[in-house]
């Protein structure tokens, strides 16, 4: 299985923030959740992948094409924050403007999706709800047969019904072979529902990249009365309170804990919460 996304040692320095040797890869055909606290570098990484910012060093390959090869964008579907369509555009204007750039554009497929997503072809973009805007963007990506979707918080700010619909569209998109999604999110239930793998970024550096099940099976939540000093380094997102402590630990690190320590299987939510707490405490 080849990689749809390969990022190696990407560095980008800003005043007060840096992407620090960001490296990860996403195999073809997988849906990858890109998570991390606000300001951790998710959007910056996505922008670097699109050439919107210039990295100081490192290498980015999308769909096996080198950095700077714009032809790869013919096979990309991108949505950062929200679709970049003009406020006065109707879905028909969107087609008129976008279609010439994609050789694989299928107009009948586009109209099919507009009708399925109940998008009024004469309604201006500014009058659409956020959920409808997302659906319009997905209709565009599906109509030019994008092989890789890069989505920045596609479900952020949506009500549960709209979120469910967007996740269904993403799931349906993945049915065809060799299609890949990288989506950033703060909503861990989205990860539970559609992600095959997770990349966790914190303070501009990748702290986990692997299968969703790996993340869960490699960690456990630990609670107890007092954490021994030699174990403090292994504790992820340690929180101490009057009754004791709680933290996340890898399975390799739980040996040697005092007998009063209770270990529980970690859920994705736990992993993300404790990892975020660690990044805040760092």
């Amino acid at each position: 299985m080849g990689s749809a996304i390969e990022i190696k040692d990407v560095c980008k320095q800003y005043p007060g923030f840096a992407l620090n040797r960001v490296s990860f890869s996403v195999p073809n055909g997988l849906c990858c959740g890109f998570v991390g606290p606000n300001g951790a570098g998710k959007t910056t990484t996505l922008k670097a992948m699109l050439g919107m910012i210039h990295v100081d060093r490192g290498e980015i390959r999308l769909l096996n094409k080198p950095d700077g090869d714009v032809t790869v964008k013919e096979e990309l579907g991108v949505m950062l924050d929200q679709p970049y369509f003009q406020e006065d555009w109707t879905p028909l204007d969107v087609e008129k403007g976008i279609k010439p750039f994609y050789r694989g554009w299928d107009g009948s497929e586009y109209r099919k999706y507009l009708s399925r997503f109940e998008l009024d072809t004469n309604k201006k973009f500014k009058d659409l709800s956020r959920g409808m805007k997302m659906k319009l963007a997905m209709a565009v990506h599906l109509s030019h047969d994008a092989k890789l979707l890069l989505l920045d918080e596609p479900t952020g700010g949506l009500d549960p019904v709209a979120r469910d619909e967007i996740l269904d569209i993403m799931r349906e998109y993945m049915v065809k072979d060799e299609r890949t999604i990288l989506f950033s999110t703060h909503i861990t239930s989205d990860l539970e529902r559609i992600a095959d793998m997770i990349v966790y970024i914190s303070n501009g550096a990748i702290s986990f990249c692997g299968g969703k099940d790996d993340l869960v099976s490699r960690h456990c939540v630990v609670r107890g009365g007092r954490l021994p000093e030699e174990k403090r380094k292994a504790a992820i997102g340690l929180r101490e309170h009057s009754n004791g402590y709680e933290c996340l630990m890898t399975l390799e690190d739980i040996g040697g804990l005092p007998p009063d320590a209770i270990t529980e299987r970690a859920a994705i939510d736990d992993c993300i919460v404790y990892m975020e707490r660690r990044s805040k405490n760092a």
Binding site: K47, L50, G51, M52, I53, H54, V70, T71, V72, K73, E74, L76, V78, L80, Y84, F85, Q86, E87, D88, W89, D93, K96, G97, I98, P100, F101, Y102
Partner: protein, 228 residues
């Protein structure tokens, strides 16, 4: 490039209805002097060609372009292409109007009742001077807007150059009406230019080409480095 020009045009859809101002503006300029119709139309169409910059930040037009399979070079090329297309439309409309009004009313207007003949030397000089005017505006505007965007760059990249040009034009009018020697000097300069129309036209055209080339090269350079 044609697709990019079309997308630029579609991107400024919100401004399309402002084209309706043009007939009104032409009528107003025509009251002053038939000879100013061409430069004023060139100016108006130039202003329209700045509109894609104006919508780029509100609607994030640049971000849309950077998600499409196009290079940054082609984005700059298309915006210059659209601007030159607007220049051509302004020139063509201006030439037709000037020649027609000159033929119908001998160039006389309510405010300026002296005759004006739109003969070849006069038209050649007006066209070349208008293109030079366009090139100066382009150089003072496009590289700045490509570097900073409209929100940050409009003051130094658009409003100040336009303001400066307006002050210069106003100063010329004041000098024309207040200083007799200036009037004489200007008329003799115009007479000399009319007598050497081809030479002056070649010099102005070369200057315009140089300014546009510098503007294009600078725009390409700054846009290649810009981050979004």
């Amino acid at each position: 490039m044609l697709n990019m020009i079309k997308l630029d045009w579609l991107g400024m859809k919100v401004y399309h209805r402002r084209f309706m101002i043009i007939p009104l503006a032409i009528s107003l300029y025509g009251f002053f002097h038939v000879a100013v119709i061409i430069p004023m139309l060139v100016y108006m169409f130039f202003s329209f060609s700045v509109n894609p910059f104006a919508v780029e930040e509100k609607g994030k037009l640049d971000n849309l372009y950077l998600t499409l399979p196009v290079t940054r070079r082609s984005i700059v090329k298309a915006r210059f292409g659209l601007s030159l297309l607007m220049l051509s439309i302004g020139l063509a409309a201006g030439i037709i109007l000037t020649v027609t009004l000159s033929a119908l009313f001998y160039g006389r207007t309510i405010i300026y009742p002296r005759t004006f003949h739109a003969d070849f030397p006069a038209m050649l000089l007006i066209i070349c001077a208008s293109v030079l005017f366009y090139a100066i505006l382009n150089l003072s505007t496009f590289p700045t807007l490509f570097k900073l965007g409209y929100a940050k760059g409009k003051l130094i990249g658009f409003i100040l150059p336009i303001g400066f040009v307006s002050v210069v034009i106003a100063a010329l009018f004041v000098l024309w009406s207040a200083v007799d020697t200036f009037q004489e000097w200007l008329m003799s300069a115009v007479a000399w230019a009319s007598g050497n129309a081809v030479l002056v036209a070649v010099i102005m055209s070369a200057a315009s080409a140089l300014l546009l080339a510098v503007s294009y090269a600078l725009s390409q350079k700054v846009y290649a480095q810009r981050e979004f």
